[in-house]
Amino acid sequence: MAKAQAELRNWHDWTDPDFFAAGRQQETRFLPLFVRQLFSVEVQRTRPTVTGWCLILVALGLGFAAYNTASNILFLALSLLLSSLVLSGILSFINFRKLTWTLQAPAHLKVGEVGTAEVDLTNSKALFPTLCVCFRIETVLPNAEERVYMPQALGAGETAKLACSFMPQQRGRFEVRLSGVESHFPFGFLRKTLGASSEQSVLVWPARIDYTFQASPGGQRIASGISRRNAGLGNDLLNVRPYERGDAPRLVHWKATARLGKLMIRQLAQEGERGYHLYLDPDAARWSGAQFETLCSLVGSLAEDLFQQGRLESVTIGDADAMAVRSLHELHNFFDLLALLKRQPKRMAPISGLRSNRITFRPCGESGIAIYVEANQAGQAHH
């Protein structure tokens, strides 16, 4: 892929529809350009289809018969065949000209969730439409290639979106790649394929799983109505701060926004009970492969539920510093880390601390995972 990308960057082919556009040409020496035409690379290919081979064979037959018989009728038929091939090339060239596309994919998904990658097409031509274009979209997890056809003609100046669905089967970085654009336009003689280097990475979060969790609230209980100095979802206004991605629209402070000219958010004080601090130990010695996946799913599900209840304070993975989770954006950041988390050989240092309401996880049987709040088991989950 890297090689193809590098090739695409240095690629210049006279058959490229925008070859003659100013600024695209980097190579001007004759010999390298000539060699590239002889030995085409993956980036662009023009191959005859079955119809094209039939045309070639018929043309050869006609040519042979024409020269054998010196019949001008056969020469006429041959010249018409060849001219239709020339026209096919011209129309195919025009078809791809000023056609731009970008691949859009969701930033994140969960395992088992159907995601949709979209190809945004724009036909910048002033007069001619674009027809019969097909995009090859490859996905990594699982390895699959799908062809997405443009259902209708794309008129001059129009845009279109082509959707391609996929379902990741495991967490991690899911690559969606636009590996090529091809077309048989206009007569199906030649299959013209243009290389495309568009790639999008989708972080696949762990799937939700069912679990049980019942923890008696530990720690110092603060009476309801007394606000704390921590931000939360209480009623008292703690602070007014600029908007961050993930903040709820209902928290927008409109007066401050109007005064300052930028979006400002009301930060409310935490009320009620203290939240939980999740500790996740990715020790490879502790978890088997399947259990580790279950662990990630469990941690994700639990974190999400606790966050929605306003009871999630922070999360800690391994030896890293605790990461406060106060906003949706921070929760998503945590999920991103979960998506890429791997079992680590290094053992996590014993938790010391001043924090109470610590949730930890321990293996329970072969496939189960127990949830501990402090030293007490508060729930469990099974694969």
């Binding site: 039939c54 054998n68 038929a77 019969c132």
Partner: protein
């Protein structure tokens, strides 16, 4: 953004129906092409065409045929095809074409997917091309021009339908189908711009095709594919066996038999007799070519591309002008080539199987051509007399009279020209007639004798296609001579031959064409089948030549040695124009060869050179005039002229400066207020180009990026802001031009 009106688009079902429609049209075209071939299968073509038309009008019924039925059709068809081949061997071209017709009809009816559509297309192409190659007819040009856009449309629709495996398996439902609805939907989709574009593209295809056709190198490999020839029969009046009346029967046909490109109209010095076939043997009312003349030694065979002049009948060197006569002989007429007289050389377009008879001065092909056959003759000469061969001279000098000829012993040429295979009673009547004509004179020259007989026949008989007097007992010609009063050219010629033989003059009948017409549209000579004629050649012992005699009443003189100036009609009008199209077709397409390519290239080079020279000379003259004008002393006239020229130049300059204002004024006068202000339009164009260039600028080129953004802001202000005068806008446009001219740093 303005709301776009939703365009009508063809659905997958519409495209499938359209594909079916185009396929049916191509099939009808292919069947039309096949109908030009003489395959003895007109019934099959007619049935096929009716079936396709039926399927075209009622596709629902076709679709209702169960798929399982098609599985049975294949083996049955295979058996029929094999039987057809077996019954017609070794002639396999007609069964081959019948097989193609059957496959076409099967393909139209059977369910089709992409592969089957391509098969149909290939079959139709095969039909059109093979029919065109065999008939070499102008119709091929029409058919291929109709075929090409339809084939492209079919391939285009197939390409549009290529949307993956889900769409590939789609089967249209024909229950709600209506041709009217489909045509209406297609009409909505195909707007005038698309039609115009399609027309332009088709013109481009034709232009490229003609360029390729002209430029394709021609190599004379000189070997025809032997099987690509369909046997056909000649017209009965122009074959080796001619019954009385068969030449005249051709005379009712006004179709063209022969077209000739002549060097000039003056080259036709006298009424042309297009001599094709000499018939020496007479039997019971029919003339024929005797058996001896149908083989060696009188007939020679070979593959030739050129035939030299006849030995003993060459064109004298002083009379050679390198004048070329190109003959385009229609197919299905005869295998004998019309040649009016002596020539320097006869050339064919390719090596030909040809037969020639030096003694009779005849050239023939090995078979009757179905399509137009062309050949070229160099330095053709018109002559009423042809030299006799040595064998003829020796034979006739030793054998003086018909009385000495064996009766039924089967004479051999040249004695067949003296043979009279009639009974004694008819013979006696002939002798009686001869005595009345020539009396006791025995040394009359052939020319004198011819005049007497011709005069007698013309005075006592009149020309008619409905003869009388031939039904009695005995020989029909003798019966006509004694009892008849009207007859056709064969009777006149036959009578002359019998009388001449009886009088001891070797005579033979000649068939061919006489006269013709001049096509004024394309300047070529046309001979029609209605010009078919029969005349006589009588042997003149004094000059040892064959003398042409035409005893039929008409324009020909009684004295055979007198040649009348050519008298033919001039053709114009619709028929002549159509004929000229065919001639153009034969000249420029069918007969286009290497020589024509060289000639075209030479002509183009010469034309280019001449044009350049003329331009250069013109510029030089203009320059000299200007210099001369400046060199002249000042005068009132010069001053006025100079002032006018300066005025015109200044006006043009100011018009260019004020072009926006002028165009705006023009639009206002034309009452087109909705047209966007020209300054805004120009700003839009520059804005688009500047933005396009902005994308190519590198981020590190800060100065250029800044300049570009400033320029974009100014152009946007011109485009969207308050109206600005053209004067002020010009500075911004000039800056934009400077920016666009600047190369982007790499």
């Amino acid at each position: 953004m303005s709301k776009r009106i939703k365009q009508v688009r063809l659905t997958t079902e519409d495209l499938h129906q359209l594909k079916w429609l185009i396929g049916a049209w191509l099939t009808l075209l292919a069947l039309w092409a096949m109908s030009a071939l003489d395959l003895q299968s007109d019934w099959l073509l007619l049935l096929g065409a009716m079936a396709v038309c039926g399927a075209f009008l009622q596709p629902r019924r076709v679709v209702a045929i169960p798929t399982s039925a098609w599985r049975l059709v294949g083996p049955v068809m295979l058996l029929v095809i094999l039987a057809d081949f077996a019954l017609n061997l070794p002639n396999f071209l007609p069964p081959l074409m019948r097989m193609v017709v059957l496959l076409l009809v099967y393909r139209i009816f059977a369910p089709r997917r992409r592969r089957e559509d391509l098969q149909l297309l290939l079959l139709c192409l095969l039909c059109v091309v093979v029919a065109g190659a065999l008939t070499v007819s102008l119709l091929f040009a029409v058919q291929i021009l109709l075929f090409t856009p339809a084939a492209m449309a079919l391939l285009f629709v197939i390409c549009l339908l290529d949307q993956g495996p889900e769409v590939a398996g789609f089967q249209p439902s024909w229950q709600q189908f209506s041709w009217r609805r489909l045509v209406r939907r297609v009409w909505w989709v195909v707007d005038l711009r698309v039609l115009a574009l399609g027309g332009v593209l088709f013109a481009v295809v034709v232009g490229i095709s003609m360029t390729l056709f002209v430029l394709m190198p021609r190599f004379n490999l000189e070997q025809a594919i032997p099987f690509l020839q369909i046997q056909t029969k000649p017209r009965s009046g122009l074959s080796e066996y001619v019954e009385l009346g068969s030449v005249s029967a051709i005379g009712e046909d006004r179709s063209v038999a022969l077209r000739i490109d002549v060097p000039s109209l003056d080259a036709l010095e006298s009424t042309p007799y297009w001599r094709m076939l000499v018939l020496d043997q007479y039997r019971s009312g029919a003339f024929g070519l005797s058996e001896a003349l149908q083989g060696r030694p009188f007939r020679e065979y070979g593959k030739r591309r050129e035939l030299p002049a006849w030995a003993g009948w060459e064109v004298p060197t002083k009379q050679r002008k390198a004048a070329y006569w190109t003959f385009y002989f229609e197919g299905g007429v005869s295998r004998y080539l019309p040649l009016p007289g002596a020539f320097h050389a006869l050339r064919f377009t390719a090596i030909q199987d040809v037969e020639w008879q030096p003694d009779l001065h005849l050239v023939s092909l090995d078979s009757v051509q179905q399509s137009v056959f062309s050949y070229q003759v160099e330095d053709l000469q018109w002559a009423a007399r042809a030299p006799a061969a040595q064998a003829e001279i020796d034979a006739y000098s030793s054998n003086r009279g018909a009385a000495e000829m064996p009766g039924d012993a089967g004479a051999v040429y040249p004695f067949t020209a003296l043979e009279l295979a009639i009974d004694a009673g008819d013979r006696a009547r002939l002798q009686h007639l001869n005595r009345d004509l020539i009396g006791a004179e025995s040394d009359m020259s052939a020319a004198h004798y011819s005049q007497l007989v011709t005069n007698y026949l013309r005075q006592n008989f009149r020309y008619s296609l409905s003869p009388n007097g031939t039904d009695g007992r005995g020989d029909p010609v003798v019966g006509w001579l004694t009892d008849g009063s009207r007859g056709h050219c064969e009777l006149f010629a036959a009578s002359f031959v019998l009388l001449a033989r009886d009088a001891g003059y070797p005579a033979r009948m000649v068939v061919g064409f006489v006269g013709g017409g001049w096509n004024t549209v394309e300047a070529f000579f046309v001979v029609r089948n209605s010009d078919a004629h029969a005349w006589v050649e009588i042997y003149d012992a004094q000059s040892q030549e064959w003398l042409r005699v035409d005893p039929t009443p008409g324009d020909s003189p009684i004295d055979p040695d007198v040649s009348m100036p050519a008298n033919f009609g001039f053709e114009s009008g619709w028929t002549a124009w159509l004929d000229s199209l065919r001639m153009q077709w034969y000249r420029r397409i069918v007969n286009f060869d290497q020589m024509d390519q060289l000639e075209m290239a030479t002509t183009m080079m010469d034309t280019g050179d001449a044009f350049l020279k003329e331009i250069t000379a013109h510029l030089r003259r203009f320059g000299a005039q200007i210099r001369g004008w400046f060199a002249q002393p000042l005068s009132r006239g010069n001053l006025i002229r100079g002032a006018l020229a300066a005025g015109v130049g200044l006006s043009a300059f100011y018009c260019w400066c004020a072009r926006y204002w002028l165009l705006n004024l023009l639009f206002r006068l034309l009452k087109r207020p909705q047209v966007l202000d020209l300054v805004r339009r120009q700003a839009t164009r520059y804005l688009r180009r500047v933005r396009g260039k902005e994308r190519l600028l590198k981020a590190r080129d800060v100065a250029q990026v800044k300049r570009c953004r400033k320029l974009c802001a100014e152009l946007e202000a011109l485009r969207f802001g308050p109206q600005v005068s053209a004067q002020r806008a010009k500075f911004v446009f000039a800056e934009a031009r400077r920016f666009l001219r600047r190369r982007v740093k790499r």
